[in-house]
């Protein structure tokens, strides 16, 4: 195999500073995206589960539109489309905003399912103890439902992280776009793929392992 024989580790090492910058930009956008989709998922998931009028219907429309359209088109609308309406976003703003909106929609479903899985009688017990609806949510529904929703929401965070790679199209210098630029100049395909695969797979596989661990640790007692 001629290709593998010419694989040079030194090539990755020589470009380490650029690649490291790209990796940091990936993590930066992903961190905001994950935090944002957590917040949206928590609030709208609660709105959906408790069928709060008007807000619940708006949440349904938001979730269905985002989940049934490609995220790349959503990125284009934010980056190229919004200025036509007089709203100009920085590249970095689109990078974190697009994945936040996208992840928020998927997370709303995760949390809704989690909250709805909490038996009604537990909430009734909360009311019987004199808790207000908000207190009942915070002390009963959230701890139990949040636990049920955790594995699937981590899956969403994994996808949010992977979707940062799409910011290549708007020129946000995250890892994939940095590696792609280096490849375009040097044609070092295997070195660049190796570094991309290593970076993404280490994070994704670690988080997947965490999900399996949590599923075992957080499993609720049968009698619930």
């Amino acid at each position: 195999m001629r290709i593998l024989a010419s694989f040079e580790w030194s090539f990755i090492w020589d470009n380490r500073e650029q690649l490291w910058e790209g990796f940091k930009n990936t993590i930066k956008a992903a961190a905001i995206g994950i935090a944002g989709s957590f917040a949206i998922g928590l609030v709208l998931g609660a709105v959906r589960a408790h069928r709060i009028p008007v807000l619940s219907q708006i949440a349904v429309v938001y979730v269905e539109v985002i989940r049934n359209t490609p995220i790349l088109v959503q990125i284009f609308l934010l980056y190229y489309g919004a200025p036509e309406l007089g709203v100009h976003f920085e590249t970095f703003t689109v990078a974190w905003l697009a994945i936040t909106i996208w992840g928020g929609a998927f997370n709303t479903e995760n949390f809704r399912a989690g909250f709805e899985a909490v038996p009604e009688r537990l909430r009734e017990a909360g009311y019987a103890l004199g808790f207000t609806p908000l207190k009942t949510f915070l002390n009963v529904t959230l701890p139990i439902g949040g636990r049920i929703a955790l594995p699937s929401s981590i899956n969403t965070y994994i996808s949010v992280l992977k979707n940062t790679s799409l910011m290549l199209v708007i020129g946000y210098p995250e890892l994939t776009s940095v590696a792609s630029n280096i490849q375009a100049i040097t044609f070092r395909t295997f070195e660049m793929f190796a570094i991309l695969a290593a970076a993404y797979l280490v994070i994704v596989w670690t988080l997947s392992a965490l999900i399996r661990l949590l599923e075992a640790r957080l499993a609720l007692p049968e009698a619930l």
């Binding site: 049934n68 490609p70 790349l72 792609s180 793929f193």
Partner: protein, 226 residues
């Protein structure tokens, strides 16, 4: 009825004539390949032979774990090479189809493994009692039953693949988003106003009109079949 501006008709016609069929063809190729390879790998994974299980597990976790864009770029970047008399050269379209198929087959393989394992062992025993070998048992008894359970997730997969075909935009395939982008760029150079919000909004609406009924179908099947 809101009035349709003059510039819009030729733009929409180009997109629906050139871009949309390309998107649907790409999705059809990727879904077909994903199903064939995925069902095969998922069924093979139920054989209790560790090295084979590990190998398929590595395939699944790699193509499912990577962002699809990274896979698309990697395959597109691959230099041409020859294997014996075969000269292998992938264009952008084939690269995108292959990358989507790798991702899709990984999803199908994982789902198939679960579905095949969920078939009760009495079915295996009954088929064996009728004289079927491993291949016959699986092709005529086990996998057909598993496929029924796989139907709802496969419709969801179709929705996902249709949406992910837009990633082929990056390597220049003229799928639906690309066709819209080309019209946007043309209008910008010709008239100074590219109408990006309307054009990409139209792309969004068309994707929604295709995906949403399929999503509802997947939900309906899930309720009916499980």
């Amino acid at each position: 009825m809101p009035e349709v501006p003059d510039w819009f008709r030729p733009v929409a016609e180009y997109m629906l004539r050139e871009g949309l069929p390309e998107t649907l063809r790409l999705a059809a190729i990727a879904v077909t390949a994903s199903l064939v390879v995925g069902v095969l790998l998922g069924t093979l994974m139920t054989i209790k032979f560790r090295p084979l299980q590990w190998l398929i597990r590595l395939y699944i976790e790699t193509w499912r774990g990577l962002p699809i864009l990274v896979t698309v770029l990697f395959i597109y970047w691959l230099p041409d090479y020859s294997v014996g008399p075969f000269h292998i050269q992938l264009n952008a379209y084939m690269s995108a189809a292959l990358a989507l198929s790798l991702w899709g087959s990984a999803q199908v393989a994982e789902a198939t493994r679960g579905a095949v394992q969920s078939i009760p062992k009495e079915q295996h025993e009954a088929a064996a009692a009728l004289g079927f070998g491993w291949v016959g048992r699986h092709s005529f008894v086990i996998v057909p039953q598993a496929l029924r359970r796989l139907l709802p997730p496969m419709v969801s997969l179709l929705v996902n693949i249709i949406q992910n075909t837009t990633i082929a935009f990056v390597i220049g395939v003229n799928e639906f988003l690309q066709s819209g982008n080309r019209q946007f760029e043309n209008l910008t150079t010709q008239t100074g106003n590219g109408h990006p919000f309307t054009i990409f909004g139209f792309v969004l609406v068309v994707f929604f009109a295709i995906s949403f009924p399929l999503t509802l179908l997947a939900r309906y099947l899930e309720r009916r079949l499980v």
